[in-house]
Every structure is written in C-alpha cells, then in structure tokens.
C-alpha cells in the first residue's frame, strides 16, 4: 500500500508528495510492531534507495515470515533527489535542521511536522544517510550520547562495522533522529557509502542487518544472518580526524577500512600545475580508516579521513 504522508502544491502545475509504502503480513492481524525505514532527507545521498528496494523485495519473497508492519519512506526530499541537491531546493535549507517542524509554520516546517507525525510511534526507525559527495563511509551507525543506552543494543543487530557514539550538540537538536529519540521513538542514524552513488555491497550488508533487527523484535521469523560484531566507540579520543594541510588534489594510496600503522602514507595532496607534492598525508596512529576522501579537490582544512584507533578495534 502506497500512501502520501505529506503534500503541498508547487507554483507551476506540480504537487510535491512525500510517500511511504506500507508492507503488512498477509492475512494476519499479528502486526503490533512497526519498523520504519527512512531515507533521502539529503537529496544527494542515494545509498538508502537500494536498501528500500532490496528490503521490500526480500520481504515479498518470504512474506509469510513477516510478523509486523514495515513502513518504507524512500524520498523525504523528492525535489532534492531530483535536482541532485543536498538541501531543499529553492529554500536553500538543510532538511535535517528543521525538525520537529511546525504544523503552523512554513511549507518546509509543515512537511517536516507531517512526516514526523507519521513516523512517530514506530518501534524502531532507521534514518539512512550516505555521508556526502566528498567522503566515503564504512557502514556505521551514529548515536547521540544522550540516547546510547537504548540505541546501542538495537544498533548491534544491524550488521554494521562500526557504532559511533558521539557527543550531544545543541545544533543537532533540529535533526530528524533527535526529534524522534527525544520523544520516545528510537531512531538509528546509518551512514554508509558516498553521496550520488550506490554501493550495492553496503546496501546488501545493511539489508541483512535490518532482517536481523526485525528478527530480534519478533517481526521476522525467516532465516537471518548472524550480524557482524560492530566496533563500538564511545570516547572522543577513539577517533582521529585527518584534515588537509594545503589545498590541492588528493590522491589516495590506501583503501577504505584498511588497517594502518602510524606514519603509513594514506595519500598525497598534489599540485598539478607546479608538479609539487604539497602534503604527504600520514596516519598519526595505528588504526583503521573508516572514512576516506572521495572527492579529490581539497581546500586547506578539508576532511581527508577518520581513523579509529587500534586500541578500540581490539576491544
């Protein structure tokens, strides 16, 4: 069943509709639990699109195993997805900074309020992001420290490589996930892959994790894969940030999720005009690279990567 959860008429001959697909167990009233899969808040992040498709496909293949409601919201920001725009076009707004919205507010706030109202009350929500066009991320779940007790056990079912518990920040209080978590609907933020692309391998990995999560909630009685053991980082000092010391072209030497020793070369920042190497980017610690620069052009300060320290990996 496909339903419109929010809509508004646009100026010239078009209606903006935000839709969801609801999958219910066939001929059963045993549907007390609900999982919501949400993606596309940022219009340039597409990794969640494949997850929505593949999850629904596998459920339909074994529909008799479904014991709960699955709501799939593939496009929270349809105009952004259509125009390869991260925010909401025309408003130049980051949709993930306008929650919980306002039913008396402007168009974007009204859409946000209606979406939140529809998703609220789910037993668990996955908000799937794809980093941005500049960085590639290993499949991971990010959790605000304020909600870690409830969310870490759920995240550990999701078959991601890494669970990152980050510090609370006032600015993040306007996000979709924070708005849900602070009002009693558990929401896990998934980051994986890179903007504007689909990494099928990561999508399949997460779909396996969603089935495992549904199984743990009693919503799926079919076969599931044992989720991989996620590395959980809870301390600020577990993660090293690598920023460019100079503007130039970043040429990587290593692969994503590669184990590195201190002083291993991660890549070079070069100047194609002068032929000079502006910076040899080296690993400051022994660890593993869970974020790496995808878009080659960097400014001074641009993020090149993030490393998880070796000590955390061993835990």
């Amino acid at each position: 069943m496909i339903k419109t959860v929010a809509e508004v008429a646009l100026p010239v001959d078009e209606v903006l509709r935000i839709k969801k697909r609801r999958i219910m167990p066939d001929g059963s009233d045993d549907a007390s639990k609900r999982i919501s899969i949400v993606t596309g808040i940022h219009g340039d992040e597409l990794e969640g699109q494949y997850v929505c498709f593949e999850l629904a496909r596998r459920i339909e293949e074994n529909k008799k195993c479904l014991k709960g409601i699955v709501d799939i919201y593939p496009a929270m920001n349809p105009l952004g997805i259509d125009s390869i725009t991260r925010g909401i076009p025309a408003f130049d707004l980051d949709m993930n900074r306008i929650f919980p919205g306002n039913s008396e507010g402007n168009m974007t706030e009204l859409l946000a309020a209606n979406i939140l109202k529809d998703v609220a009350g789910s037993d668990v929500v996955l908000d799937i992001h794809a980093s941005n066009i500049y960085l590639t991320e290993i499949p991971q779940i990010r959790i605000n420290r304020l909600h870690k007790e409830e969310l870490i056990p759920l995240a550990e079912h999701c078959n991601v490589d890494f669970v990152w518990v980050h510090e609370a920040s006032t600015v993040l209080e306007s996000t979709f996930a924070y708005s849900l978590n602070s009002t009693g609907t558990p929401c896990l933020v998934v980051e994986m892959g890179v903007g504007m692309r689909i990494t099928k391998e990561y999508g399949d990995q997460l779909v396996d994790g969603i089935f495992s999560l549904m199984h743990s909630l009693g919503m799926w009685i079919g076969k599931t894969k044992t989720p991989r053991k996620s590395i959980v980082s809870e301390n600020v000092e577990d993660v090293c940030f690598l920023n460019a010391a100079a503007g130039g072209l970043f040429i990587p030497d290593v692969k994503h999720w590669e184990k590195l020793k201190r002083r291993d070369r991660i890549g070079r920042i070069i100047d194609p005009l002068s032929g000079q190497v502006l910076q040899n980017v080296e690993s400051p610690v022994d660890g593993i690279l869970f974020t790496i620069r995808e878009y080659p052009i960097v400014d001074e300060g641009s993020l090149i990567g993030r490393l998880l320290k070796k000590e955390v990996m061993a835990v």
Binding site: V8, A9, L10, P11, V12, D13, R86, A90, F91, D92, L93, R97, G105, N106, M107, L110, N132, Y134, T170, V171, L172, E173, S174, F241, N243, A246, G247, G248, L249, D271, L273, I297, D299, E300, G301, S302, L303
Partner: protein, 306 residues
C-alpha cells in the same frame, strides 16, 4: 586607517582566500563591524564599504576618540561572492554556522576560527546579516533574548525597530551568539535588501552606526533630532501566510501602514493569470517584511506585520 589581513588560505587555482579588515583609531578594542558572510550579501558589503569611507574621513579629521579602536571587516567570504554562491564554494557550508570555529577543523571551521580569534575581544560587535528567505525588511537591529547584549544599548542605533529574537538551536553556531558567549555585546543589523543595493537603507544603516558610536563616545559626530525605536519581540510579528503556490504579486510595500482588511498581495495562477488568492492585512499595522521573489510556495509566511 590600517588595512590588515585577518585570515588567509591558499587556493589551488584561485588567488588566496583573504579576509581583509580596516582598523581605525588606536587603543582598546571597542567596536567590530562585520559585513557579508554569504556570497549574495551584496548590500551588507556595500554598507561596510560606506562605513570604511566614513571612518577614514573621521580618522583624518581627528574625530575618533582617544584610546578607541574600531575594526571593520566588509567581507568574510570573497570566494563565494566572486562565484555568486551563497555558501562556501566547495562544500556549500555556511561560515555563519561554524562559530566559534576550530583551527584544526574543516575549512569553514578554520575560517570561522580565523575570524573569531581576531574579533572576540571587542567590547561591541555589529554584524550586517540576511534572512534565509528572499525579501525586504524595515531596517532594524536584532538581539537575542537570552544573551549578553541589552536593549538599552540597542536603542542607541536609533533605528525604527529593535527586535528581540528567541534563541533557536542553530543560533548557537552563529557569530552573534558566540560573540556574546565571549562577553561582546552583539547586535545584528538588517537593512532593506540582501542581493541588491538599496542606497537609502544603506545610508540609514551608516547613520545608525555613527549614532551608536557617538552615543558611546567613540566618535565626535554632529547629529540632530530624536530617533526613537520601538522594541518588539519576534513572537509579536504577525505572519501572513499563503495557502496557494503561484506567482506572487505584492500590492503594498515594506514600511507602509495598512488598515485591517487591506489587500496586501495576490497569488496568481501561472497559466491563466487568474487570482487564486488575495492576502489581506489581518490587523491594522505596518509592513515589516515582504517576500521579494516573483514565485511563492504555499504555506509560506510571505509578509510579516507589526
């Protein structure tokens, strides 16, 4: 006048990104004025250029008080202005959501840190800023309602309105908010426009800052007349919202006094020209903000009245 580089980073194929400041007077860090931070804030840049011209004249005439230093930074984002993008050229981030900044962080965090480290010790801070929606305002000064800044000082600008604004989560990363955390009395100045120059309201802004400086004893400046301001809260502004999307045709202009029931704007069907909706004044009042794009969306607060 002393011209100085506030912050600089090298570009790959572009000239260095430079933020330039102009210092007037010597002594205590008394007042810092910041202009455009986004690439479309042309009016904000223009206002600062007029202030640089005026303070240069005041300094040459010996009219800046002893022991007072004033810094003007007309533009914090030349790269975006030169490419006509509102936000940072590569990653579209907003410098005014990066304060207080971080010197080892990402590019716009470093820029914010580079600016803030130079301006955080000033006693007073004024930022020319813009609204996220395209539109025209009555010139006014804004301050946050739970900060270090105070209304009494805001009245010294002598602008028609002082607006107290409720702090929202995203404000915590703005220059205005962080200035106050570091004990600078910070005020945001809104003139009529953003991406086009309005000389009249720019002139009004320049005069209001001279009035402010005179009142605090920073400059010797002759001025006549009273300039009363009305203090309002942003919660008191009456929003007139559209129910339809379409072509927006204003029937009145900012600053007009209107009676309840006056037609304010029409939303026109873009195909057949028929009026789909007329927006009426819900009360007697003054037009404070008016949407300025020819197209509007439904459920949008296109007009704000006092």
């Amino acid at each position: 006048m002393k011209k100085k580089t506030i912050y600089e980073i090298k570009g790959l194929y572009r000239d260095s990104f430079r933020i330039t400041g102009f210092e007037f007077g010597k002594g205590k860090k008394s007042l810092c004025i910041v202009g455009s931070m986004r690439g479309n804030e042309v009016q904000q840049l223009y206002c600062c250029s007029q202030l640089v011209k005026k303070f240069k004249q005041l300094e040459e005439e010996g009219r800046i008080s002893e022991g007072i230093k004033i810094l003007i930074i007309p533009c914090c984002n030349p790269y975006s202005m030169n490419t006509q993008k509102r936000f940072w050229t590569i990653d579209n981030t907003d410098i005014n959501r990066m304060f207080p900044g971080y010197d080892l962080g990402e590019t716009t965090q470093r820029i914010a840190d580079g600016i803030f480290s130079q301006i955080k010790d000033y006693e007073y801070g004024i930022q020319f800023t813009s609204f996220y929606m395209p539109g025209d305002f009555i010139p006014h000064v804004r301050l946050m309602d739970e900060g270090y800044s105070d209304v009494v000082t805001a009245l010294k600008f002598g602008l028609p309105y002082v607006v107290k604004r409720t702090v929202r989560p995203y404000d915590t990363a703005t220059l205005n908010y962080n200035w106050q955390v570091w004990n600078t009395k910070a005020y945001s100045l809104y003139t009529s426009t953003t991406s086009r120059i309005d000389k009249k309201s720019a002139g009004q802004a320049v005069l209001s800052i001279l009035r402010f400086c005179k009142s605090l004893g920073f400059v010797k400046y002759q001025e006549n007349g009273d300039h009363p301001s009305k203090v309002i809260s942003d919660k008191e502004l009456i929003s007139v919202r559209t129910a339809k999307s379409g072509i927006f045709e204003p029937l009145v202009k900012v600053g007009d006094s209107v009676e309840e029931g006056t037609p304010l704007a029409e939303i026109i069907n873009p195909y057949d020209g028929l009026v789909m909706e007329t927006l009426y004044a819900p009360k007697n009042g003054t037009l404070f903000f008016m949407h300025s794009d020819p197209i509007t969306y439904a459920e949008t607060g296109v007009i704000k009245m006092i």
